[in-house]
Every structure is written in C-alpha cells, then in structure tokens.
C-alpha cells in the first residue's frame, strides 16, 4: 500500500508540473498584456513594465524563474492590483471560498445519498419519479440560473434571506444551494443507479438466502457497495464546486477566490491568472490524492493489488 501511495504521489507532482508548464506557455501566448491599453503607451513605459515583471527576459528563462518561484510557493505580484502579492490574494480570498465549498459538499452528501437510496428502493414508484425529476432538473438548469432565480424569489421578493454579501451563515444558504444543485442531483442519480445494480448482484441473493431481513440486506450489504462510487466522485465533486464558485460568487457578491479569478481573467492579469490556476490545480490534485487514500482505506479489494 505504501508503494501505491508513493507512486500516486509521484504522479500528482508530475501532473502539477505539467499544468504549471501548460499554464505558463499558454498565458504567455496571449498577444498584448497589461500594457495594451486604449491608447498605445510610449515604448519606454512598455519596456519599464516589461522589465518590472521580468517579461523582457527570454521566454525559457522566464519559465525557469517561474518554476523556481512556485517551488518556493511564491506566485509573484499581481499585475493589475498594484502592490498585492498573488499569495496574499489567495490567502485572503480562498478561505471564504473554502468555507462555502465545504458547506456545499456537505449539503450534496447528506441530501444526495439518501435521495438516491430512496429512489432505488422505491424504484418506479412516485418517490422515485419525484426524486428523479428533481435530479433531472438539477443537471439541466445552469447554476447561474438557479442562483439568480433563488436570489430573486427568496431574497428579493420574500426577503427570507440576505441578497448579497458573505457575513453570516444566512448569507451562505442560497449560494451553497446553487452550488450544490448540480452535484447533488448527480450524486442522487449515481447512488440510485448503483443501488439498483448492486441489488441485482449475486451476493445480495446470497444474503437474502441466508434469511436476512430486507433492511439488513439493503442497509448493510447493498449500501456500502453503492456508496463506493460516490467516494471516487468526490474529487470531481470538489472540482465542480470550485468551478461553480466562479459564477456563484459573482452573483452573490462573495469576496471569494472564484470571483477574483474571473476578474483577473477579464483584466488580463497574467500573474494572477497563472497563480490562481496553479493554486487551484495543486489544491485539486491534493484533494484527489486524499480521496485516493480514503478509497484505499475503505475498499478492501484494493489493498492487495499493490
């Protein structure tokens, strides 16, 4: 098992390296930059800016510098927000995104899994149909539409919850619902189809042939097997919540990293785009690694393979 984890870890590092490389060369392939403004700036000023951010050096040298900086966890200065280090931006804004994200993930799991089980057990009956209709809506309506509509009806019209901002738990409810809408529906469908499949397995018949009650068969023998795939989905879930935060934070005016990322894209803030992308990638790779470890710990079948 240790060998497996070391191998997985090595792949994670390799992945991260490739992503840094791609990000670097992609962001430097953009014609123009911060110095491209409405009115062309004098060449001397452009040169100054280039020198300040090291853009005058050969590309490959810039790349090495960048790599070295990242190894030292330094993402450099923001090009647009004068005087702010990208590290500081991440440190300031990411915790808010992380808080909202964790809450959304919790919501997905504690609602999505029971919904899926209920559907599978009441297969083709009204409980199943209702849950699956909800789940289908969940995967077909874009999250920003959900966010806008709930914000409008629940906050603006009914005034049940605050419209914008991020200062209390109440502020978190609607954004979390909007963020978790799609993955929640996805998990419900995933659990349902797994449960339906697991219930047709031979070992379920064995359990029934032993005289176990339906309850034990479902909640002991079927449940653990049907939940396994949800653990594999966790990595994707975190990624979905993370990308979802780009739009949701904008709509609810939450000072998280997602909103900042989107802003830096429209401002063509190279260093910030680069820094946040690498940070996101590293974060997700780490999360995937953690999920893998958890999976190995839970599924007995994997232990022997490596």
């Amino acid at each position: 098992m240790a060998q497996y984890l070391v191998k997985r870890f090595a792949y994670s590092v390799l992945t991260l390296f490739i992503i840094i490389t791609i990000t670097f060369f992609l962001s430097h392939a953009i014609p123009g930059g911060v110095y491209t403004t409405e009115k062309p700036l004098p060449q001397s000023i452009v040169n100054n800016i280039k020198a300040k951010y090291g853009l005058d050096k050969p590309l490959f040298q810039q790349y090495l510098i960048q790599l070295n900086n990242i190894v030292h966890l330094d993402f450099g200065m923001s090009m647009v927000n004068e005087g702010r280090r990208v590290n500081d931006i991440i440190a300031q804004h990411f915790p808010k995104s992380a808080l909202l994200g964790s809450f959304s993930i919790l919501l997905c799991l504690i609602l999505g899994i029971p919904l899926g089980i209920l559907s599978a057990l009441k297969r083709d009956r009204w409980q199943d149909n209702v849950s699956m209709i909800i789940a289908t809506i969940g995967v077909t309506v874009p999250s920003f539409v959900v966010a806008t509509l709930t914000q409008y009806f629940i906050s603006v019209r009914l005034k049940w919850l605050p419209v914008m901002g991020f200062t209390s738990f109440k502020h978190m409810v609607l954004p979390a619902v909007a963020l978790s809408f799609f993955p929640l529906a996805f998990i419900a469908r995933l659990v349902r189809s797994n449960m339906v499949e697991v219930l047709e397995q031979d070992y379920i018949r064995t359990a029934r042939a032993k005289g176990l009650s339906r309850g034990v068969v479902v909640f002991k023998h079927a449940l653990k097997n049907s939940i396994m795939p949800v653990i594999t989905y966790l990595g994707m879930l975190i990624a979905t919540i993370l990308t979802g935060s780009f739009v949701i934070e904008k709509i609810f005016n939450i000072p998280g990293l997602g909103r900042f990322y989107v802003e830096s894209i429209s401002n063509r803030d190279y260093t910030t785009i680069m820094g946040i992308t690498v940070f996101y990638a590293a974060f997700l790779i780490l999360m995937n690694f953690v999920v893998d470890v958890v999976y190995v710990l839970i599924d007995p079948r994997i232990k022997l393979k490596q």
Partner: protein, 328 residues
Amino acid sequence: MQLAGMQLSDELFMPLEKEQMDIKKTSEPGLTYWRDVWRRLKKNKVAMVSLGIIILIFALSIIGPLLSPYSYSDQLRGQEKQWPSWQHPMGTDSLGRDMLVRVLYGGRISLSIGIVASLINIVIGVLYGGISGYVGGKVDSIMMRICDIIYSIPLMLYVILLTVVLKPSLTSLFELPLFSAFKSAGAGLISIYIAIGISYWIVTARIVRGQILSLKEQEYITAAKALGAGGPRILLRHLIPNCIGPIIVTTMLQIPDAIFTESFLSFVGLGVDAPVPSWGGLASDAVGGIRSYFYLLLFPSLAISITMLVFNLFGDGLRNALDPRIRK
C-alpha cells in the same frame, strides 16, 4: 383420450416429416443489429419524444430567424424593454432587439458550439483511444497516464485558459488577409469551438480504448489479419465501426455539455462576440436585470434547460437501445 375434439388416430403418431423439422430447427432470422436498436428505441416513448423535440429545436433555430421580420441585431427605437406581446412574443431587450429572433439565432450558435465541439472531441478521442487501445503495451499505458493527468484537473480551467489565450490570438490572426474569411464568424465563437473541442475528448478516448481492447482479441480481427490487412485498415474498417454505438451515445451527451460550458463561459465574460447572441450569453446578460425584466432570463434559460433535458433523455434512451442488457 380426446385432443381438442379430435380422436387420437394412428395418423398422428406417424413421424414428423423431415422438411418440417428442418424449418423448425433454424429459428426465425434475427433482426440486424441496427434494426434491432431502432425497434427498441421506437418502443421508448421518452426517447422518441425527445428526438422529436431535438429535431424541432434544430428546425426552429435554422428556419426561425429567416422567417422573422427582425434580425438579431436590429435595434428598434422606442421599443426597448418590452414585456412579451403579440408583436414580440418573448419581449425585447434593453436595446430594443426582438428576443424571439435572438433566442432562435442564439440556438444556431449554441447548437453549432455543441456540434462542432463534439465533432472535434470525437475525432481526437477516437484517434487517441483507438491508437492507444490498438497498439497497446507501453504506448497504451503512457497514453492513458496522460489521460489520467488531464482528467485530474477540471476541464473548465483548461477551457477558460484556452479561451483567454485563443480569443486575442485569433483576433489578430483574422486580421491577416489569408484568414479574413473567418472574421465574420468571430474570434470568440471560434475560440470556444476549439477550446471546448480539444478539452473534452478524454471520455471518448477512454471508451474507444476500452472497446478496442476487448474487440481486438476477437476472432474476426485475427481473421482479418490472416487475410493480410494492415494495422490502420483493421483499426478503421473493423474496430472503430464496432465502437460506433458508445461513440454516438457519448456525443449525444457531450452536445448539451458543450452548450452548458458555453453558457458558463459567457457568464465569466468569455462568450461569443456581441452582438451575436448565444443562449448562454442571453441568459448571462439578463442576470443583472432580473428584478425588472424576468422574461429576459426566462426564455434563454428555458431553451438551455429543455435542450439539455432532451439530449440527455435521448442519449439515455439510445444507450439502453444499444445495450439490450440494460433493457428492463
């Protein structure tokens, strides 16, 4: 003993004639694979209704804008921000543009994104997965490792990065006389085609590889090899056609995903160039004005959701029809 009213005569105990038996031994001829698929698909009402709606959506998007008295960019002075009426069934936007024609035209753009991006996906995915599965061994494991690496990062990040890079690059490229033909399509749209197209092929590649791996062990491939067919020929003539089913299903599910991704990009500010509408662009434009102009968000969102829904339902139905084992 009576049998259905007739007496049991000696005649009945004569041997059954041989010809009669031979006919019986060979059971009735099986339907061909695709006719069987179509027969099963036709029985699935949900899938058939979805297919009908898909065709309707395509027809409306293609023909609709031609029949409308307005064009998607016509700004009608004095008719700004009108609620739906007979004259403008979906109302008008803040610049006085007819929303119906914009939604219909947006359908063209969004559907084209879905289709073009999926086609690029298929080509890359099929080739990548096909080569990986067919060559096998070290090449396969390296190629699949690359897939794993790409897969571990949300594709949205790549798409955003690619669009960020491609849009200005293409804009300057289209200024050149050689590529000026593309200018009318808009750098935004083309960069979305490419960005989505080259990001989402992993799923297709994996499916194709899996199919090829299991297929290439089968006898008819050995037979083809024995007849002297070369590698590329086996891959193209024998293996890939047998993966068509899963490929079609993946595509059916990727089209709505691409439309979804585009709406997301529009919201982030990386959508198609104004004034060309797309469903995502229309919806994200409307988000700001939701308090007063609810209908501006309603129609494009409905269009996205219905399209997502029918493609998904049809894709599911098709998958069940292609794989009879899932049949209830």
